[in-house]
Amino acid sequence: MTPVTELTKPAAAEVAKPIEGYLQVVPEARVDGGVATIDARGIYYKHLNEVVRRCLADGAKKVVLENVNGQRYIGTGLKGAGTRIEVHGTAGQDMAMFMDGPTVEVFGSAQDGVGNTMNAGRVIVHGDAGDVLGYGMRGGRVFIKGDVGYRVGIHMKAYETRHPVMVCGGKARDFFGEYMAGGVLVLLGMESRIEGPLVGGYIGTGMHGGVIYLRGEVESWQCGKEVGTFPANEEDLANLRPVLEEYCEAFGMDVDEVLSVPFTKLVPVSHRPYGKLYTYV
């Protein structure tokens, strides 16, 4: 057997370097007027969100998070309509989940589970968003500039005065608006980096409330069996315009250009699509 060479580094002699990864430290917040700024680089989500909550409790109206990358739960569970969180970087999983009032604006992309079971407020994402966007969303606005993933707008629902609105500027994959029970879901296909059609298959499958607007057309195989497709008429476009105006304002886009292409409207054809599926014993 060849003897151990000098190259060998005895384990104990090695000086420990810091481990790559999140820092388990509470970050500093720089407060200026009602604005708190936090450098999130390498900060573990728990500490980051703790400081965000503390800044808001101390009266900050706006929290700016710099160098965010993958930190989870930003804006999750936060309340208060006047509050604003700015995210610079890539927001992590479950951003704005259960959110009830604040505005979260992401200058970058967001990952999976944005706006999950959100009650009120606004989410604005200047990049893409991942899968299961706005799951069970009950109110507020979600505006995504780019592409979105699978199962977007899944089980969006309206309740009394709450009507959720989601507008996605790029393309979407399968199961867009699955189980949708209320609200407005819009897909524009304008800011896309993926190849293929505007949207995948199983659009609105299980849909039993709300309305989907697609900028352009879809083929019948793409749609769930519970939805009917119609060209959007004058009245539909009149309803859509204020939503798109708000969206365009967020991203500096021209609403007339957005509306320059015919829209397709998808609505459920029955509130009880499975009435005939069961036999009672």
């Binding site: 151990v4 005895p10 384990a11 090695e14 481990i19 992309s109 899968d131 399968d174 980096r193 298959g201």
Partner: protein, 424 residues
């Protein structure tokens, strides 16, 4: 006695517990096996990066990519595999070994001495890391089969190496081969991946391709061998998710002689790749389509003859289709393949920056590593992301002629899988 040349001296009795030279009991000597004879459930995070130009990247890259995905695991398993990391020994097989105790090391080394020309043997460089405990003795060996033994065995070097892996994993108690390919190595253990990477001083290595894994098992892992990636020669597999079709996938593989004894989806995926790529010579694109089949409605919309290919692929390989949520990365000396399930139940994000292709469970991992990606996208369900390093070939081991049970034995070292290795 099929393996005669390799079996002149093998330990014939297993020692249930062992006290090392210093008289410290190290407890039961583990065999390489997952922790239970039943299906193991779990979730995970993963990454893969490949520079198609063959340029090398520091091991810090995969560590950083996994560190931002820390919460996808639970600290019970992390690991990496790097390719192109041993340019000084490009033509040597490199065995990364895990030993429970010195006796296991002696037994394995006796085997190396007898059957291989070992040109360098050294402990794996490591550093102490808080939270990393119970590390086995970690050694690596740069070696090639002894030419005489190779002649005697009438095997290709690849066959010879896998047979030796099989032999060590199944008969040398307390010894386990973590990887055995050329110019590559696996670095894995029980801990969070960034801790494991740090422990192994991964930043001192440079590779053109890296895969990483963060494990969230629902059971308590026994020892370091159980962490991912899984390897065989230069193949490494990392996997996220749970394959709900495990039951039929494993029975399907058994029909071809593979024996699924670890109860993990990763093992099943490894054998399916071996079956389809090496033994059935399917192009990698089609193997991916068999593993994550398009829906029948999509196939029906395809033009002929593509539809006919897909129809046959699905009808024939249906029992091998991985059904349920998964994302998987297969690394090899020629690059990597990333794939996720047919209805995208597990995340996978891909990016390209110049000649670098990267995949990860979360976009943040990509942003952490690539400063200016040309393109970041979420691959469509069942659409493989394939990266190939120029001139390094495909993942098909044409020099490997092993049967399925031999492959299973080499991967697992479980006694049930190694019936053909008999010692008189």
């Amino acid at each position: 006695m099929r393996y005669e040349p390799l079996l002149e001296r093998m330990p014939t009795t297993r020692i249930p517990s062992f006290t090392d030279r210093e008289g410290v009991s190290r407890g039961e000597r583990p065999r390489y096996a997952e922790e239970a004879p039943f299906k193991i459930h779990g979730g995970c995070g993963l990454m893969g990066i490949c520079d198609e130009s063959g340029s090398l990247m520091s091991g810090q890259v995969p560590i950083r990519a996994m560190a931002v995905q820390r919460d996808r695991g639970n600290g019970l398993g992390g690991g990496f595999a790097g390719y192109g990391i041993y340019p000084e020994f490009p033509d040597h097989f490199c065995f990364h070994m895990m030993y429970h105790d010195l006796r296991a090391k002696e037994d394995a080394e006796a085997l190396f001495d007898r059957y291989f020309q070992v040109d360098l043997a050294e402990p794996m460089p490591t550093r102490p890391v808080k939270g990393i405990a119970d590390a086995p003795l970690l050694w690596r060996y740069f070696l090639n089969p002894d030419p005489h033994k190779l002649d005697e065995a009438e095997m290709t070097p690849e066959d010879f190496v896998v047979h030796s892996v099989m032999l060590i994993n199944s008969t040398v108690d307390g010894a386990f081969v973590a990887s055995s390919g050329k110019n590559m190595g696996a670095f894995k253990g029980v801990g969070f991946p960034e801790e494991i990477g740090h422990y192994y001083l991964l930043e001192e290595y440079e590779g053109h391709t890296w895969v990483g894994h963060n494990r969230f098992p629902t059971n308590t892992p026994g020892w370091w061998g159980g962490a991912h990636p899984f390897t065989l020669l230069d193949w490494s597999i990392v996997h996220n998710g749970e394959i709900s079709s495990y039951g039929i996938n494993s029975r399907y593989l058994e029909q071809f002689g593979y024996k699924c004894t670890l109860g993990t989806d990763t093992e099943v995926a490894a054998y399916l790749f071996d079956l389809m790529l090496r033994r059935h010579q399917l192009p990698i694109e089609l193997a991916c389509k068999a593993l994550a089949s398009p829906l029948w409605s999509e196939i029906d919309r395809m033009p002929e003859p593509e539809a006919e290919v897909m129809r046959s692929l699905r009808a024939v390989y249906g029992p091998g289709m991985l059904n349920g949520p998964f994302a998987i990365v297969l690394g090899f000396n020629g690059g990597m393949v990333a794939l996720n399930d047919r209805i995208k139940l597990r995340p996978l994000v891909a990016a390209r920056q110049g000649s670098i292709v990267m995949v990860a469970s979360e976009e943040s991992a990509i942003r952490e590593v690539l400063d200016a990606p040309d393109r970041v996208w979420a691959p469509k369900a069942g659409e493989p992301v394939i990266a190939t390093v120029a001139g390094n070939g495909s993942p098909v081991h044409s020099d490997l002629h092993l049967s399925a049970d031999e492959v299973s034995c080499a991967v697992t070292g479980m006694p049930e899988t190694c019936e053909t290795v008999e010692v008189s």
